[in-house]
Symmetry: C2
Subunit: 237 residues, 2 copies
């Protein structure tokens, strides 16, 4: 894990400030102020960023890369709670409630994190109270995500659960092509399984089934193409 520390004037676009929804209201000079407070860190694929119970020194904002946040179930299986991307943050419980993080976070690919130390953030908050609303906004979005995940995990029909995940991935990581939507999968088969609470074998079988039915096309292990979007949505709705 290497630290790049403070930023120069010329590489502002490499700093989180410009990419993060919670700072979207900031004026130019405020941006600069924030930028000076930020420390950036780099993590390799598979590296742990935080562990459940950690007391973080600040708010962790993802500058680039993808991160999975998970807890362990009783059977010591990973249960994924969130997939974070550029602009997402974690450690807010530390910031707002002085509570340690409640999940593990692991880089899914090379990932850069911007850390805003607690005291810096609270000072910023005093000067720009509108950030408060932005945070609440993000918290509400997170709540919505969790509520949907629970709704999904409550449906017994595995087909529908997988369809829901594929639609989510298509939305976040897909690109339209003339014959369908090409999705760059953020998770391995096992990862998907740990997201919706089943085994990797089940995911394999169901994806194969969807391919047989001509609904999707597997492109290697890390990509797939959605050929019949409406069929997936029908499953889902």
């Amino acid at each position: 894990m290497s630290c790049q520390s403070k930023s120069c004037e010329k590489c502002h676009h490499n700093i989180c400030t410009y990419r993060v929804p919670i700072f979207s209201d900031l004026e130019q000079n405020e941006m600069t102020k924030v930028t000076e407070l930020i420390i950036t860190r780099k993590y390799a694929r598979g590296e742990m960023i935080v562990m459940e119970g950690n007391q973080l020194e600040g708010l962790y904002i993802i500058h680039s890369g993808r991160v999975k946040a998970f807890r362990y179930t009783q059977e010591a299986k990973e249960q994924i709670l969130y997939l974070f991307s550029e602009g997402d943050f974690f450690g807010e419980k530390n910031l707002l409630r002085k509570q340690p993080v409640t999940y593990h976070a692991e880089a899914l690919e090379e990932t850069q994190i911007c850390v805003i130390p607690h005291h810096s953030f609270h000072e910023l908050l005093k000067e720009v109270p509108s950030i408060n609303y932005k945070i609440m906004d993000q918290l509400c979005i997170r709540i919505e995500h969790l509520e949907s995940l629970i709704q999904n995990m409550g449906t017994r029909d595995m087909e529908a659960r997988i369809s829901a995940i594929l639609l989510e991935f298509a939305e976040k990581y897909g690109s339209k092509q003339k014959d369908g939507i090409l999705v760059s999968m953020p998770l391995s088969r096992e990862g998907i399984a740990n997201y919706i609470g089943v085994t990797r074998e089940t995911i394999s079988r169901k994806l194969s089934r969807l391919q047989e039915d001509g609904i999707i096309e597997l492109v290697g292990n890390k990509k797939l193409k959605i050929l019949d979007l409406s069929a997936l949505e029908q499953d889902f709705i």
Copy 2:
């Protein structure tokens, strides 16, 4: 549904203000101000309080009673997301993001709700900005609850899942007795089933099993006594 409208000076203790965490920082005179803005409503057991998609006119705070919040799964089964009690609120997405509520809410028993209209709440927020923190606090608590529920739903071992629910109920609705913890169950068997994503028959069987094993004792259909707390916790941990 009957409206009792404004409050008198003498029955302040009947108004939400004094029972709600988000107002715990308020001064006496601020309390009074809030109290005057509040409209109270009464709902009977089984009555719907809000439906998914509703645009609420304000923040709904539970003054007394119990409420279940749920969504429907693909199979049109209820998936319970929250059990709300005195002091809990909903409709915050309307307040903070102008988004409709994302779940149905139904009174589990006779329930009184205090409604703080949007504009009143926003005015209050201007005068007492610390309420912001309280709300974020509550949102974080809600997130924690949802994360735990997902973790629980991700464990395959049904025994462990039910144990987790019983421990949650014991915490929230239990009273210590010399031979165990008497828990007043907020949900029917079917309700419990809809909380952890199984069928009512499965709940019945597992509860019977726990009784056979001397871990709990069923007291009618609406109460149960936990005789061996550590056995439940062992299941759970």
